[in-house]
């Protein structure tokens, strides 16, 4: 019975994410991007759409694109953690309303990332990963506790997975430090700074994909 469950679980991993047969490479860089969609971001919806499009285009135009799979996770009142897909499938739709379930998205995002990494490694893939969060404020609605989120980040750091946090407007800097993200980028709270942040994220992702070994700190490339 347990064997059947294992097999079902493995199928789910491949269904939710990109199957190994679809990856024409032996190396892959998994990029988790958690995006704050809470109401406080409401004034930046069109800028966020533009920034997400620019982020996607930058990755698509890089030589490393075939080695990158991206999972987008949105968090507001609820969370929606997507699977790891080719960059061409990255969704750039954006809306903002509600509260900030930051801890929930970190815990579930970490679980899904590490499950998929384990699956890929068992198939002979060489896997690196970046776990990045963009947020403008502290958690306001998670079911999980800050200690759960902190444990998740600790696990990722221990596994030498790059953890990165973009604090938009500076309101989330303290929580990013408390959660012990290894890379924290503070940007101002304006449309220009928003674009700058995603521009930096795309450059950093591309640079990390070039490296043979994950750079756990010094991730952000300005």
């Amino acid at each position: 019975m347990s064997e059947e469950l294992d097999i079902l679980g493995m199928d789910e991993v491949e269904i939710e994410n990109t199957s190994v047969d679809e990856i024409d490479n032996e190396s892959v860089n998994l990029i988790f991007v958690g995006i704050d969609g809470s109401g406080s971001m409401g004034g930046y919806v069109s800028d966020m759409k533009k920034s997400l499009n620019d982020f996607k285009d930058a990755l698509l135009n890089s030589k490393e694109v075939d080695e990158i799979l991206v999972a987008r996770a949105d968090f507001a009142d609820r969370i929606n953690v997507g699977g790891y897909k080719k960059v061409s499938e990255f969704d750039t739709v954006y809306s903002a309303s509600g509260m900030t379930a930051l801890y929930d998205v970190i815990v579930e995002g970490k679980d899904k990332l590490t499950n998929y990494m384990t699956f890929l490694k068992n198939q002979g893939m060489r896997v690196k990963a970046v776990f990045a969060i963009f947020s403008d404020g502290d958690d306001t609605s998670s079911r999980k506790m800050i200690s759960d989120a902190k444990n998740s980040i600790k696990y990722l750091n221990d596994e030498e997975i790059t953890t990165a946090f973009i604090s938009f407007g500076g309101g989330a800097t303290n929580v990013a430090k408390a959660l012990e993200f290894k890379n924290i980028l503070n940007v101002g709270g304006s449309a220009a700074e928003l674009r700058k942040a995603f521009n930096c994220l795309s450059k950093s992702v591309i640079e990390s994909s070039k490296a043979v070994v994950n750079t756990t700190d010094d991730f952000f490339t300005m």
Binding site: V20, D21, D24, E26, N122, Q123, G124, M125, R126
Partner: protein, 208 residues
Amino acid sequence: MFINKVGHEHRETGLNCHDYGFINDTVKCVVDGCSEGLHSEIGAKLFCHLFNQGYSIDEIFNKIFMVIDNTALNIRNYLCFTILFIEETEDSFIVNYCGDGFIIKQKHDNTIEFDKIDDGEYPKYYVYNFTDKKYLSHYKDGVEIQQSIFPKSEYKAIGIATDGLRYIFDKEYEQEFINLLEKGKESAVKRLVNREYKHFKDDITIIL
């Protein structure tokens, strides 16, 4: 398809990958440095670098001896490596070899067969032609590049591999490996070698 992987025992003992190879417009080449040499990858890579530039094999060794002194110790540690390379004419594939390895034969229906090139216990290293005979227990009369010719009417492609390929035979993954070769799935072959790395004790290089 070009695959070049370090063997598990090389990793465990801290040896570099002694295999190397290259593909250019006229030649496909793989070389396998002797695992008893401490730095066989140096000679193997130097050879490939110069062969890729169009130098003849004798010219290459003469050039190498301009920077590595021709002593028995240096030859053993740096310059013992097998050489396999393929050239093409309009109607045939010509495999040239000095030392052991494998020839991979792909027919027009994509099926693959292997020919083992086996020198027994003592592989033929071309550097023996430049070695003082008093240090040689075998091949004192020198060694030659041998040739096998395969007609294009019979074969779609001919490949070569170092003797690390021996670790696919009689294993659970043998047929999977061959199927992937037949389909030209380079990344999937690399992943299989990664997945089964404990079985692949020796370095492996494949060109097809």
